[in-house]
Structures are given as structure tokens and as C-alpha cells.
Amino acid sequence: MLTFIAKRLLQLIPTLFFVSVIIFSLQQLLPGDPALVMAGEERDPDVLAQIRKQYRLDEPVPVQYLYWVKGVLSGNLGESMRLKEPVLTLVLQKFPVTLQLALMAIVVSLVVGVGAGIISAVRKNTAIDYGVNVVALWGISTPNFWLGIMLIFLFSVHLGWLPASGYVSPFEDFWLSIKTTILPAFVLGNSFAAVLMRHTRSAMLQAMSSDYVRTARAKGLTERVVVLKHAMRNALTPVITLGALELGTLLSGAVLTEQVFSIPGFGKLIVDSVFNRDYAVVQGVTLVTATTYILLNLLADIAYVLVNPRLRS
């Protein structure tokens, strides 16, 4: 087991290296000149030259890359050109917001996805199965931004029940915080629910045809007890680990959802920075997101091996 973990940790190094290369090539890929974007209407050749020099934009790319890596290794993610604020500060400011959104979304998706998966497996190939299927797939089949717009229209513009946008920290005002994040969390959770539904359904089907469920049935236990106590317990472990493996999609999904709801989290920061060519921020946030994703993956992998002793060899 320890060698497995050690091996996986070792693999992190080249992965992170490639992540950093991809992140840095984003800068080369994106057309446009950050100095020009920064200047906007105020473009004066001398000022532009000065900015390029100040942010080392006039140096060769490999040199810029080395400077960046050097900074990152010493804990300095650089500074936002646009806001003059250290990227690390921005990251620390935004991370809790997206984390809250993600956690709430996970709750939504667990309820919808796991519930739908169990029902659909138990009632396999019946009308209920198909109905539940469509409901669970609904979230993954609607573009986040469209669902967001429609919900804003319905709940904020039309009914006036919820604020249309913005974000309040739960430490400031708990209920208002829930109110501002419930719609985006629902949108985000919905798209993740289908993923969980798929895993749950197949894990449940497998569990239902296993020996211990058959034994439980033979003992004359009610179907309810068989499903909830025996099958579900065994099916849930792989669901959770497999679910964690796909958590990255949740972070990706947050990108547009935050944009639509004006939630000041990672997603909005990164999209705005891409369009503003605020490279240091794009690089810093992508790095943190990618690292989080990789670590979650690692944890999920380890957990998966732990619950499936057969895989240890």
C-alpha cells in the first residue's frame, strides 16, 4: 500500500510539470497583447513599452516561464496586472466562495443523483426507471448558463423570491448566504447529479445481483431492508470514490455558472482574467485548480484501493 502511495506521489511531479507547461502555453496561445488590454483606451506607445518591461513581457517565453516557476516554487504566484494585487491574495479570497458553492452542489447532486440511481436500479427497465433517468439527465443536458438564466428569470425577476446575483459570505449573514448561493448550487449540482446517478445505478445493479444480497433475500428480509441496508451500503463506496474522481468537472462547471450568477469565485475570476489577459491570475488560478483536482484524484484512488483490497496487488 505504501509503495502504491509513494508511486502515485512520485507521478505527481511530472504531471504538475506538464500542467505548468500547459498553463504557460495558454499565455502564448491567447492572442492579444496584455499591455494593450491593460491600457484599453489609454494607449500610448511609451507607457505600453514601460508596462511590457515591468511585467517582463518583452523577454523570451522560456525566460518568462523560468521566472514564473521560480516564483511559484518560492510561494509567489505573481501579481495581477489589472488589479495590482498578489495572485495568492486573490486565490485565498476566492477559494472559500467556490468551495462553498461546490459543497452545496455536492449535497444537491448526492440527493438527486444517488437517489435517482438507486430507484432506477431497483426499478430497472420500468417506466419509473426511465422517468428518473430523464430527470437525472436533465441537469447534464441543459447548459449551465441557460438553466442559470432561466432560474434567475423565474425566481428573481418574476417571483422575486431570491436575489438575482451577488454573493454574501455565510459568516456575514447565513441565511442570505444560502439564498444567494442556492440557485447556482442547484445548477451546478444538477449537472453533477447525472454523473453520480450513472455510477450509483451500475454499482447498485452489480450489488443487487451479488451473493450477499441473494443470501439476504433468501433469509426472507423485506426488499426495502435488502436494498437499503445490504445493497446500498456496498454500492455506495465505489460511487463516492468514483464521484470524487469526477469532482474536477464540478470545478469546470463552476466557470460559467459563476459568470451567470455574478458569484465572485474561482470561475468568474478565471474567465474575467482570460478575457483581460491577466496572465498571472490565469496561471495562478489554473495551477491551484489543477493541483486541487490532482490531489482529489490521488485521494480517491487511494480510497478506491483501500476499499477494494483485490486491487492492491
Binding site: Q11, P14, T15, L16, F17, F18, V19, V21, I22, I23, L26, L29, L30, P31, N125, D129, Y130, N133, V134, L137, W138, I140, S141, T142, P143, N144, F145, W146, I149, M150, I152, F153, V157, A194, R198, S202, L205, Q206, G248, T249, L251, S252, V255, L256, I270, V271, V274, V282, T286, T289, A290, T291, Y293, I294, N297
Partner: protein
């Protein structure tokens, strides 16, 4: 011949049924009504996209400045947009952009991802390690950000959006192919093919690929669904189809501005996206069940 070896190995494994695997899959697929529903919608959408010039009541780009933002009525069943264009016609033509984006970008992803995955899985060693780490790295970066960067780099157009989506969807297929190859590699028929002295590429394409095809097919169908969403997202951000040609994503982008006054502008393209993505998801899920050897 090697192929017969593979064929007979497969048939011994499934001796309980005398039908071919494809026929069995089709029989099972037909049993899943939701999958069939998906298939029906897909066929319908494809028909609509192909027949767009014949069935759309108006020219999708024809502006009519006296008919700006009219609600659905008898002349314009889905209403008109901000420049007085017929929304039904635009939604019909938009099907072309969306379906094309879905199919073409996933074809790109398949044609890049499968060979690379085969290479990694079959070769193993350093090549495998290198490819796997790059794949991990790409999967770790937010998909949409990669797509935005690529689309912006290539310049905004539907073709470039499809390329961008295709490239970002590639790692999934690399990983899937590689994993499948690893599990198939040790099977008897592959060993046998190798023993007969077939070259590696031949084994990979003739013996391994056919056996991993079902799972690729399932993944491709599901990926088409997400590619349609990705295209809509890019167009929503202005990086896809160029005006005046319609695309569901860009129609939504415009509609956002008139949400309270002309909600129909947002509702219909949204429903169109929903239906097409749902149909591919339903079909893909059904296909997965049908092709799953564990299920009876």
C-alpha cells in the same frame, strides 16, 4: 488466420447465444425505451438539420426591422428575434451548427485520442508514462478554459470551435483507450496474434481495437452530448459560429439581454440544446447497458 482466432475466442465466451454481439446489443438496446427515445430524437434532429433549407419557413438571416422581437404568432411560430428574424428558422438552422459541432469535434477527439491511447497502452514503458502524465495534466486543467484559449487562438469560427473542443476532449479517449488496451492485452487472442508474429500496429488495430470499440462507442456518444454543450458555451461567449449564421449558443447570448421583454428568444434555443444533448445522453446510457457483458 489470426482474425478467426479472435473471432472464435469471442464466440466461445458468448456461446450461450448464437447471435452476433452487434445483434445482441441491438436486441437489448431496443428493450430500453429511454435509449430508443434518444435514438428517435437524434434521427429527427439529423433530419431537421439536413432538411433545413427545405423545411425552414424563412431565410434565417433575413432581417425585418418592422418585426423586431415579436412574440410567437401564426406567421412566426416561435416569434422573432432582435433584428426581426424568424426564430423557428434560426432554431432549425442552428441544429446544423450544434450537431456538426458534436459529431466533428468528437471525430477529431477519436482520431487523435485512440491512436495515442493504443500507443501508450500497447507500448507501455516510458512512452506510456509520458502520454499518461500529459493526459493527466490536460484533464486537470478546467476544460472550458482550455477550449476558450484554443478557440481564441485559432480565431472565432465554428470550425475552430470544433477543433478546440475536439482537442480538449482528446485526453478522455486517450485514457479510456489505454485502460482498455491494458485489460485486453493479456487476453489469449492477443497473445496468440503476437505468437504468430504479427507486427505491433497490426495487433493494435486488427485485434485490440475491435474489442475495445463498444466502450469507445459509448464514450463517444456521451461525449457528443458534452461537445454540443461546449459549442453552445463557446458561442455563448462569442467564440463560435459567426453572425449572421445562427447557432443556439449565440442565440442565447443575444436573448439574455431581452429576457424580460422577449423570453421566447431564450426559451426555444435552450429547449433545442436540451433535447439534442438529452437524446445523446439517453442513447449513450442505453448503449452502455446494452454493450455491458455483465448484464444479461
Amino acid at each position: 488466420m489470426a482474425t478467426t482466432t479472435a473471432g472464435s475466442a469471442a464466440s466461445t465466451a458468448t456461446q450461450w447465444a448464437s447471435e452476433t454481439p452487434a445483434a445482441r446489443a441491438w436486441r437489448r438496446l431496443r428493450r430500453r425505451k429511454s435509449a430508443m427515445l434518444g435514438l428517435v430524437i437524434i434521427v429527427l434532429l439529423v433530419a431537421i438539420a439536413l432538411l433545413a433549407p427545405l423545411i425552414s419557413p424563412y431565410d434565417p438571416a433575413k432581417q425585418s426591422w418592422t418585426l423586431v422581437r415579436k412574440p410567437p404568432n401564426w406567421a412566426h411560430w416561435l416569434g422573432t428575434d432582435e433584428s426581426g428574424r424568424d426564430l423557428l428558422s434560426r432554431t432549425i438552422w442552428g441544429a446544423r451548427a450544434s450537431l456538426m459541432a458534436g459529431v466533428v469535434s468528437i471525430s477529431i477527439a477519436l482520431s487523435l485520442g485512440v491512436p495515442i491511447g493504443l500507443l501508450a497502452g500497447y507500448r507501455g514503458g516510458f512512452v506510456d508514462a509520458l502520454i499518461s502524465r500529459i493526459t493527466d495534466a490536460m484533464l486537470a486543467c478546467p476544460n472550458l478554459i482550455l477550449a476558450i484559449a484554443l478557440a481564441a487562438f485559432l480565431g472565432p469560427s465554428l470550425t475552430n470551435a470544433m477543433i478546440a473542443i475536439g482537442i480538449t476532449a482528446t485526453p478522455i479517449f486517450v485514457r479510456l483507450t489505454r485502460g482498455q488496451v491494458l485489460s485486453v492485452k493479456v487476453e489469449d487472442y492477443v497473445e496468440a496474434a503476437r505468437a504468430v508474429g504479427n507486427p505491433a500496429w497490426r495487433i493494435a488495430f486488427r485485434h485490440i481495437l475491435p474489442n475495445i470499440l463498444p466502450s469507445l462507442l459509448v464514450q463517444a456518444t456521451l461525449s457528443i452530448a458534452s461537445a454540443i454543450i461546449a459549442e453552445a458555451s463557446l458561442s455563448f461567449l462569442g467564440l463560435g459560429q459567426q453572425p449572421p449564421a445562427p447557432s443556439w449558443g449565440s442565440m442565447l447570448n443575444t436573448a439574455q439581454r431581452f429576457l424580460t421583454q422577449a423570453p421566447w428568444m431564450a426559451i426555444f434555443p435552450g429547449i433545442a440544446i436540451f433535447l439534442s444533448v438529452l437524446s445523446f445522453n439517453l442513447f449513450g446510457d442505453g448503449l452502455r447497458d446494452a454493450l455491458d457483458p455483465k448484464e444479461r
